[in-house]
């Protein structure tokens, strides 16, 4: 341990935003040739702390030592000149520029794209990246964009690399590729910090973990000497159970019946191809699939937001009567007496209005009620207060615009509102994306409560481990086709993974 050289040492670093303390007297060392996983719940100040290293924020108090020398980092430029590079959770790339142009952005000297392209190719060869320097960013997939971000940082000669939730949007294969690259870089003597919520990634990748809780540094551990349970307890501050319960369905009855559904998107590409399944009341139907395989279109078609080319979606009420949902918009569906709740993937885009406060966002569901031209603000206000209290939403108050809340808290507000309407069908897409482990389990609990109450839950997830633990049945989509429907209790990760990549789940030829 002694021979390790500290690349970065933070001493008593404090940062406040108004009255909110984001970091309080944090002491942290980052060593060369080591991958450090930075853990903490949502809003525990991980990103803020790293942003102070990368020059986005300026600390109120404390000192930062880089390679043993005290430095003041006033701007991203200072950070770069000290060899610190950060890959942000929300990519910092200009869409209409090419990869090469993005990579050299902000550097001095004469514009020479040819020389830049050569240097990029050199970096790619060294670490095993694949980047086409002349492609525009808007043509790229998420993982390609991320590669560009990492190359950008390396191009500037960074030897202290910070990655903020780099795997949140990657497929398992892409994640493995990224990890290999990161291991290469570690062996090259670079200091790497990774912020992530996924425990198995921490275990497989990092050498050491450091934990933040409510802006304060709790401690660090060698990854090999600890367990996921221990790390989680440290993060949360008390013991948490890492098991998702799966009560047996009580009296399941068909609730949503989808038959031969075919959907094309705006560009005329088939996103759903002849999809049929039934979702039962009191059951959780998990939907697995590589991202972009039609999950979004499926949920939106049921919610009345996506027109379909062929097929039918029927809602079956308690008396066994069938009502067609296809071709109706959400208002008409509601008017039929069907309470359908939709927690979309894009929380602040489709679910909530970022600039409006909690009360107003609650009203989005109820403002049509009432007989006069005046809206009823009392009920939504109480609802907002209930949601904040019951789901432990961390917010300065119910008059705070939701965009100011952290991701987990935004999700709690959205789920809280949707559940409050006592739905008979609950559709959720990536309900825990970007959420820390504690918030995730809160959300799982909420979903299970709905299931117990007899709601038909359709749960689109990306974490196969979770899907296998929570779902009663799992529908696997592959390229818009139903690859198969399996029982969540008896199947395993391998089977589902295979079905995700190939319809029917047969062995791949290679």
């Amino acid at each position: 341990m002694d021979k390790k050289q500290a690349a970065v040492s933070l001493r008593n670093v404090t940062k406040t935003f108004g009255s909110v303390v984001a970091n309080s007297k944090v002491n942290l060392d980052i060593y060369k040739g080591e991958i450090l996983a930075l853990l903490g719940e949502n809003g525990s100040g991980k990103t803020t702390l790293m942003n102070m290293l990368s020059g986005i924020y300026f600390p109120d108090e404390g000192q930062i030592f880089i390679n043993g020398k005290e430095e003041v980092i006033r701007s991203p430029r200072d950070a770069y000149s000290l060899g610190i590079g950060m890959v942000h959770q929300h990519f910092k790339l200009v869409d209409v520029l090419t990869a090469a142009e993005n990579i050299i952005l902000g550097m001095e000297g004469k514009l020479n794209l040819k020389a830049a392209t050569a240097k990029i190719a050199d970096i790619c060869n060294r670490y095993g990246f694949e980047v086409d320097p002349n492609r525009k960013i808007y043509d790229m997939s998420v993982s390609e964009k991320q590669t560009v971000e990492i190359v950008k940082v390396l191009y500037r000669g960074a030897d202290i690399l910070i990655l903020d939730e780099p795997t949140a949007v990657l497929t398992p294969q892409e994640t493995e590729k990224l990890f290999n690259v990161l291991r290469n870089m570690r062996d090259d003597g670079k200091a790497i910090v990774i912020i992530t919520h996924k425990m198995h990634e921490v275990e497989s990748l990092s050498d050491r973990v450091a934990v933040l809780r409510r802006g304060e540094y709790v401690g660090d551990m060698i990854t090999a000497d600890t367990t996921a349970q221990e790390m989680t307890d440290m993060m949360v501050g008390h013991s948490v159970t890492l098991n998702i319960e799966r009560p047996d369905p009580v009296n399941p009855k068909p609730r949503i019946e989808v038959k031969n559904l075919t959907v094309r998107n705006e560009d005329g590409i088939v996103k759903l191809d002849d999809v049929s399944f039934t979702a039962n009341s009191g059951e959780i139907l998990g939907i697995a699939g590589i991202s972009g395989c039609g999950q979004k279109e499926l949920l939106e078609a049921i919610a009345g937001l996506q027109p379909a080319e062929a097929g039918s979606i029927s809602y079956i009420d308690d008396n066994g009567e069938h009502d067609e949902l296809l071709g109706k918009d959400p208002l008409k569906i509601a008017a039929m007496g069907v309470t359908l709740s939709f927690v979309p993937e894009d929380r602040l885009g489709m679910g909530l209005v970022g600039n409006m406060d909690l009360t107003d966002n609650m009203m989005l569901r109820s403002f049509r009620r009432g007989k006069t031209v005046f809206t009823d603000r009392k009920a939504p206000k109480h609802l907002a207060e209930d949601v904040v209290r019951d789901l432990e939403v961390v917010t300065p108050g119910i008059t705070t615009p939701v965009r100011r809340l952290s991701g987990g808290n935004v999700q709690k507000v959205l789920v809280g509102r949707e559940i409050a309407s006592a739905p008979t069908v609950l559709l959720t897409a990536y309900a825990v994306r970007g959420l820390d482990i504690n918030s995730s389990y809160t959300i799982y609990d909420l979903i299970n409560q709905q299931k117990k109450a007899g709601v038909a839950v359709v749960f689109v997830g990306e974490d196969l481990d979770v899907l296998l633990e929570i779902s009663d049945k799992i529908l696997v989509l592959c390229g818009g086709k139903v690859s198969g429907i399996v029982d969540g209790r008896t199947t395993d990760k391998n089977t589902v993974g295979m079905m995700m990549t190939r319809v029917g789940g047969g062995k791949l030829s290679d």
Partner: protein
Amino acid sequence: MIDLVAFIPRAVGQGIPLLYGSTGEIITQKSGNLNLGIPGVMYVGAISGVIGSFFYEQAIRNGATESGFLMIAIPMLCSLLGSLLMGLLYSFLTITLRANQNVTGLAMTTFGVGFGNFFGGSLIKLSGLDVPSIALTKTSTYFSKTIVSGDSNWFGKIFLSYGFLAYLAIVIALVASFVLKRTRVGLHLRAVGESPTTADAAGISVTKYKYVATCLGCMIAGLGGLYYIMDYACGVWSNDGFGDRGWLAIALVIFTIWRPNVSVLASILFGGLYILYLYIPTGMDHMEYKEIYKMIPYIVTLVVLVITSMRNKRENQPPASLGLSYFREER
């Protein structure tokens, strides 16, 4: 048939102020600032130049020696200074104080037009003439000096019959295009307008780029006002004489899909459309047709907007953060 040899120089004369305005606005918009104050800035650029040359001409009348250099330098500097101040005002409000850009821009247009008319009116009073205009004929002769004299062949009339400000406008537009496309400064400016957070994280000073681009854009636009008075209008200022050309310049920005080099020809096209009604015989019975012809530039802009939006090519869209203010520690 339209007499092209007579029509084209007039169209160019109409187009040059639009070219200055659109080049200035493109540079500004590339930094993410939607400056709707351009019409006002062009008024201020014009009246500032007029004020400068008015007092210089008075000094000459009172016995000062006439210097060709000062005849041009004084109005130019006054005009640049006037529009620079407008640019600084807009920048301070929208970049430093992060005021709403649309509101600020519209307020500046109202202010600029009023400012021009107020000082224009004051000068008219000072000059003590009966006509409601100021004639700066001496200054104008310097500004509208052409390479060849009036009665040359068609080539000379179409290409060489303009004052130096007309050629300067084309040079500025071409240089602006080159800088935007081929240099690091241009790359950084585009990055600032597309995604200031990205630019900032890459170590580019967003505030500096926004300030410089907006102020420079205003100064270029202001020259358009000066050209209109000193060259096109032969040195005659009359209140509201500049009309709605500033809005046309902003329409040109969209029409050219943010390309100053395209604006060179597009502005002349718009200039031609703007005065087309003078060359199409309508007769005295149907004066209303003239007003319809005057609408053509705006209709063309709408059509271009529809086409570029439908084709939905990313390069042809406005800078992504146009109209938004930037604050690094925004949460």
